[in-house]
């Protein structure tokens, strides 16, 4: 069984009358890319800040790399990197100088700066100050800054926030590379399930400060699987035709409905075979439960996620 990197148990945080976190429990094991999803104000950033020791908790326990207690957590946090909310950079410094400052903060060598600048496509920024960077460049520099101390566990809060489509793809590739090439464990957040679905291995849905659901990539794929939806008054006859066509992965879901999970591009051919076999087809077509719909179903809400 792989090592537990983070174990948060019943974490609660209250601001006045507002419960930002309500008994949130999360366990992240080594190698996971854990995506925390929730609408704005759901408690994602608060949870990340709690993990990094930036805000105190009113209730609950945190264990990092098997360590707990103030001193233990302080020691464990030296193996972590973070970029929470807006990229935290020194606007008057260049990319290289920002990394040098963070290397000094962490007490590590500056040797990796060139590699990190290359990894984040920032090697040609020269004397340009961080305040003149685009948002995408700032996001990448913030991640480089988090990586300079060789973290084993990386926390990224909405890393694709404000990026254009190509920036989002680039960021996704960078996160993927960090996990495959450096063996990192990552906790990242977004208010878009669709976005995280392309990078995370595990998911947690935060809603009004509560962790309402956790599932793996496989479970998400099952829930949002694409299929051909066939509607017919003659289900029995249709099943015979499907069997004759060699289709095995299907499910009779109602008296008039069959979901077919294979040969998704052959809806027209399947329809033709059914019609030739004198089976009435009311409706046929490829369909999929959208990730957004799935999220809404989970949160039971009216969010835009």
């Amino acid at each position: 069984m792989s090592e537990t990197i983070l174990k948060a148990t019943n974490i609660s945080k209250v601001y006045g009358k507002h419960k930002a976190l309500d008994k949130v429990s999360v366990e992240i094991k080594r190698g996971m890319i854990y995506g925390l999803i929730g609408e704005n104000g759901a408690g994602k950033s608060s949870f990340m800040r709690v993990i990094m020791g930036l805000i105190s908790i009113d209730e609950g326990q945190i264990e990092l790399f098997g360590e707990s207690g103030a001193t233990g957590l302080q020691r464990a946090r030296r193996k972590m990197g973070q970029s929470i909310e807006t990229p935290a950079l020194y606007p008057e410094l260049t990319a290289r100088e920002n990394l040098r400052v963070q290397a000094a903060n962490g007490g590590v060598s500056e040797r990796e700066i060139d590699d990190l600048l290359r990894l984040m496509n920032l090697e040609n920024t020269g004397k340009k100050k961080a305040k003149n960077f685009s948002l995408g460049m700032r996001q990448r520099l913030a991640i480089a800054s988090a990586l300079i101390t060789h973290p084993e566990f990386l926390i990224l809060d909405e890393p694709t926030n404000g990026l254009d489509p190509s920036g989002i793809v680039e960021m996704r590739e960078i996160i993927g590379r960090l996990v495959t090439e450096r063996g990192m464990t990552v906790l990242l957040s977004s208010h878009l399930l669709d976005e995280l679905s392309q990078v995370a291995t595990h998911y947690g849905i935060l809603h009004h400060g509560k962790l309402i659901s956790e599932f793996s990539r496989e479970e998400l794929a099952d829930q949002t699987r694409q299929y051909i939806e066939l509607e017919t008054p003659e289900v029995q006859a249709a099943v015979v035709v499907l069997n004759e066509l060699g289709i095995r992965d299907y499910e009779v879901v109602s008296e008039r409905g069959i979901n077919i999970y294979e040969r998704l591009d052959d809806a027209a051919a399947i329809n033709r075979s059914l019609v030739l076999a004198d089976v009435d087809v009311t409706r046929i077509g490829a369909t999929r439960q959208k990730l957004e719909d799935y999220f809404l179903q989970l949160t039971g809400g009216t969010t835009h996620a």
Binding site: R49, M52, G53, L54, I55, S56, L73, Q74, R75, A76, R77, R78, M80, G81, Q82, I84, E85, T86, P87, A88, L89, Y90, P91, E92, L93, E97, R100, V101, Q102, A104, N105, G106, G107, S145, T149
Partner: protein, 259 residues
Amino acid sequence: MLNLLTAENMKSRRSKKLWIVLFILSFFPIFQAANSLMTVHYGTELVQPIDTVINGATGVLMIKKNGLTVLLVLAAFISFYIGEEFQHGTIRNALSLGRSRAQYYATKLAVATGLSLVGTLLLTLLGMISFTFAFGFGEVPGISPYFSYAIKAFITLYLLILANASIYTMIGFLSKNSGISLIWTFLYTVVTGFGAPIFLQTEHFKQVTYWFSESFLFYFDFVKPADIARFPEMVLVSLITVVISSAIGVYRFIRTDIK
């Protein structure tokens, strides 16, 4: 803490604000020497109790002569220096690496202490040099030996400034915002500087006046034997201010939520 100081050193070297502070503190003594020279040129005689610095020897009192300016310049620098870490979120970079908050606070205080020292040294040395050029080195009326007096006067004046720098550091950490810190540090400077002597009007509370380092800085002569005799009291008040303000600052900062 050495790591944090190294990081502060890198940031400070590239900070325009730091260079502006040092420029102001370098420009003032030269400007004032030239200004005094013009005053004398047009027939007004410089008088030590009023003008404070009248030659190279009295240049050691440049901090006293520019007390309010030094305090306001330091208040502005420290407000931005600490407030911007909160506002840019860069404070998270060091703290999330498991660095202790007390160490982080101490690092900022150390930089404020260092800048105050460099700034006041610059102000004093340039004051002594430029006034020597303008009026000759001369002497401090009634002071002998001069060197021992100059060292004691500078240390005392520096500590009075440091006490305020420590208060500004505390305010910076409590307010977590450059603008708000700027307002509070200015208010503190003005109210305690010009308000503290109100206590002198009452019999029972007049001693309270001398719990504020600015009372000494603004209202003492630093040349009169009676005032020189109170140097140890000034040092004590300054050190107590540094200790109490740092203790409050660290205590509150440890319990602060970082956004």
